[in-house]
């Protein structure tokens, strides 16, 4: 791990440990925007790891962004941090200015499409996008849409109409309606496809989930050494040990799959690795959340215990930007099209 990443890792861990408290998570769930947390994250330079230093960013790589997004998942950070990182990357790649403040990305569902229409010398955005993460809280929305035969990136002020909704962790997932809003737009960077929001949204969720699993493994292992029944720590029972070893295996696989996708994003075409990561990490989440709860017994099923801040996020993130089924079909079709004999050369070339 290089120096920048080590420093980044220390900064995010310290910051999130200090500021993302149970009280803060509870107030975020009641709909309060954690302004002080956002300010601290922005001031520490965590929101723009992929934006050039000359434009006010950190000038880093996807590998650096992975450290931040994974930590955000581990601490259940109630902010559109992953969305801001992806959004600012799209904007700067297209040569557009990156505004300060929280960003979100749209469309968040595969079947929603936003239309970018030329209006004289500028552009307008039309259409609606449902379940946009932090749609009502973000100050700007970054959209990727195909216009005039090529992928374009657009920066819109928040949509005129917002219908509020939320995911299982009560994170905002709002519907935004654009009725000809004027937007800044420019062709996307080379290699960024028209479905970039869907693709890189899945990438971001993979890292958040890998982080969430890190938390589950650490928390469940610690609980098993503290909680005593039958006169000894429950972690001394082989059945608990075996379950936690399974959780450890899924956590390790999830971290590897997500890291691999971020590395591929630095190289360019990452569609294969992102699909593989969303499938593998999502599956790990299903097993992992179940084992973590089983280990904690009834106390882990309460709102009082912090475990649920992470598990409820994992259950939603798993489905956002495509579930395992969606991505497995996509991956499977690509593999089948290349044929059996191409599989091994393809795997070893990645």
């Amino acid at each position: 791990m290089n120096e920048l990443r080590t420093i980044l890792g220390d900064v995010v861990t310290r910051l999130f440990t200090d500021l993302v408290t149970k009280d803060l998570l509870e107030s975020a769930e009641r709909g309060e925007w954690p302004a002080a947390l956002w300010q601290a994250v922005e001031e520490n330079g965590l929101t723009l790891p992929l934006v050039a230093e000359s434009k006010g960013g950190a000038g880093g790589t996807w590998d650096d962004a992975f450290v931040v997004i994974r930590a955000a998942g581990r601490h259940a950070v109630p902010l559109p941090l992953a969305e801001t990182i992806v959004g600012s990357w799209l904007l700067s790649g297209a040569g557009l200015d990156v505004p300060s403040g929280p960003l979100t990305i749209a469309p968040a569902r595969r079947d929603d499409s936003l239309r970018l229409v030329r209006a004289g010398s500028s552009w307008e955005l039309r259409g609606s996008a449902a379940r946009v993460p932090w749609g009502g809280a973000a100050e700007h929305v970054v959209v990727v849409a195909e216009a005039e035969g090529r992928p374009m990136v657009a920066l819109a002020a928040r949509g005129a109409v917002v219908t509020r909704d939320q995911n299982l962790a009560r994170e905002p997932r709002d519907t935004l309606v654009f009725e000809g809003s004027p937007v800044a737009a420019a062709p996307a960077a080379r290699g960024v496809p028209a479905n970039a929001v869907w693709l890189y949204g899945a990438l971001a969720r993979s890292a958040q989930m890998a982080g969430g699993l890190d938390y589950l493994l650490r928390q469940a292992s610690q609980y098993a050494t503290e909680r005593r029944q039958f006169g000894k720590p429950i972690g001394s029972f082989q059945v608990i040990q075996q379950n936690l070893a399974v959780l450890a295996g899924h956590t390790a696989a999830a971290g590897t799959a997500a890291a691999n996708a971020f590395r591929a994003a630095d190289r360019g075409d990452a569609a294969f690795e992102i699909a593989a990561a969303k499938v593998r990490v999502g599956e790990a989440v299903g097993v992992g959340a179940s084992i973590a709860h089983q280990t904690h017994g009834a106390i882990g099923f309460t709102y009082e215990h912090a475990l649920q801040f992470v598990t409820r996020r994992l259950w939603s993130w798993r489905a956002e930007f495509g579930g395992e089924g969606d991505w497995a079909v996509e991956l499977g079709r690509a593999v089948a099209e290349r044929g059996a004999d191409a599989l091994w050369p393809h795997l070893t070339a990645r």
Partner: protein, 382 residues
């Protein structure tokens, strides 16, 4: 709690250049070998093939040149291994010697032992088996009882080894015997030996596996004489030596590729026009495969860097063998084809072979339960 780290790494250009050479060799050597034979993976025993590997310099790749090795990196060796496994090459005649017995002699053997055995192993001419398990010592390996008593010039051995794979084909085995007995200290008093499989006093009989194949053996020692100079390492150092061996055994590509031939046949069968269900099944398997390859490679890189990734190796083997065992299961769930022995399609035969072979994946090289115990220790639970 110990933290796992699976840092991603890159194979060096020299390793990637070697890959093309290995593929070309395999294309020529394996030709139209049927899928069901390729599915034997590292189970196929073929001395002629092993000699060709030796001539190419693809055995003993990392060993010093003075012992017939080639002083190449562990990562170049990793590339050769994964290419052999992915192609289903019959590597069994040299696999154990290259992976375990040779490295054991390099670390703990005498100079005379190294001179005598290592160059022949490197040429692909000497095949090894491993004598560890006994009728009453499986997972509880330290309880083993086969005795080696000191006699003038060497040791007299009495006892029984079981599940000794390919002992009937191998030239030598590395066997672990008890040289000292203290019931309160069972990890002490174990010693490793080089045993010529043709020694008087050794009787072998086959243990036929559930599919009717012979690779396991029962090896009975009755007053077999093993000369002093065939002891490996110090008397009583056996346990430490054995555990070192196992760490290297657990993370290799053979721990996730055992069912690769079935994944390929599945893709062949559905590739014309995969429906959604078939595509999802293939996609999920490939997501697991590519992740496992990165995990296994990550451990190889740690080994190359001189780290001690025992815990990570146990994780790779547990996750990898779980995947290997799942492949026949999901192929059945998707297609419901009848598994066969030697009739029907290639897919059916490979399915039939692996369905019957799969239970062994989480037994050999440390059972799933033992590995998970090791992982739990890493988590601070024991």
């Amino acid at each position: 709690m110990q933290t796992f780290h699976f840092e991603l790494g890159e194979l060096p250009p020299a390793a990637e250049a070697l890959r093309a050479e290995v593929r070309e060799f395999l294309r020529r050597e394996l030709g139209d070998t049927p899928p069901v034979l390729r599915a034997h993976s590292w189970g196929g025993f073929d001395r002629a093939f092993s000699k060709k590997m030796g001539a190419r310099g693809w055995i003993a790749m990392t060993w010093p040149k003075r012992y017939g090795g080639h002083e190449r990196s562990a990562l170049e060796r990793y590339v050769v291994l994964e290419e052999m496994l992915a192609a289903g090459a019959p590597v069994s005649a040299h696999w154990i010697a290259d992976r375990q017995s040779g490295p054991l002699l390099l670390r703990f053997g005498t100079e005379a032992q190294r001179q005598k055995f290592l160059p022949a192993i490197a040429r692909g001419e000497l095949s090894f088996a491993i004598g560890m398990s006994e009728p009453d010592s499986g997972s509880d390996l330290a309880s083993l009882r086969t005795r080696a008593e000191r006699v003038p010039g060497g040791y007299r051995v009495n006892g029984t080894k079981v599940w000794t794979s390919n002992a009937h084909l191998a030239d030598y085995m590395i066997a672990t015997f008890r040289t000292h007995h203290d019931p309160t200290k069972k990890h002490e008093g174990l010693t490793q030996f080089l045993v010529d499989t043709k020694l008087p006093g050794i009787t072998m009989s086959p243990i036929i596996d559930l599919a009717g194949s012979h690779h396991f053996n029962m090896v009975v020692f009755e007053d077999a004489f093993v000369p002093e100079d065939m002891r490996v390492g110090e008397e009583g150092a056996g346990w430490r030596q054995v555990t070192t061996e196992l760490a290297f055994e657990r993370s290799g590509p053979e721990r996730y590729l055992s069912s690769f031939a079935l994944v390929l046949e599945l893709i062949r069968a559905v590739s014309k026009d995969p429906g959604e269900r078939a595509a999802a099944t293939v996609g999920r398997l490939v997501a697991h495969l590519t992740t496992l390859r990165q995990m296994s490679l990550s451990v190889a890189l740690m080994l190359e860097a001189g780290e001690n990734p025992n815990l990570e190796a146990a994780v790779v083997k547990d996750v990898g063998t779980t995947f290997e065992q799942e492949v026949p299961e999901v192929v059945h769930a998707l297609l419901g084809l009848e598994p066969t022995i030697d009739s029907g399609s290639d897919l059916q035969q490979v399915l039939g072979f692996l369905m019957q072979r799969a239970p062994s994946f989480s037994l050999r090289g440390g059972t799933r339960e033992i590995l998970r115990g090791i992982i739990a220790r890493g988590l601070g639970l024991r």
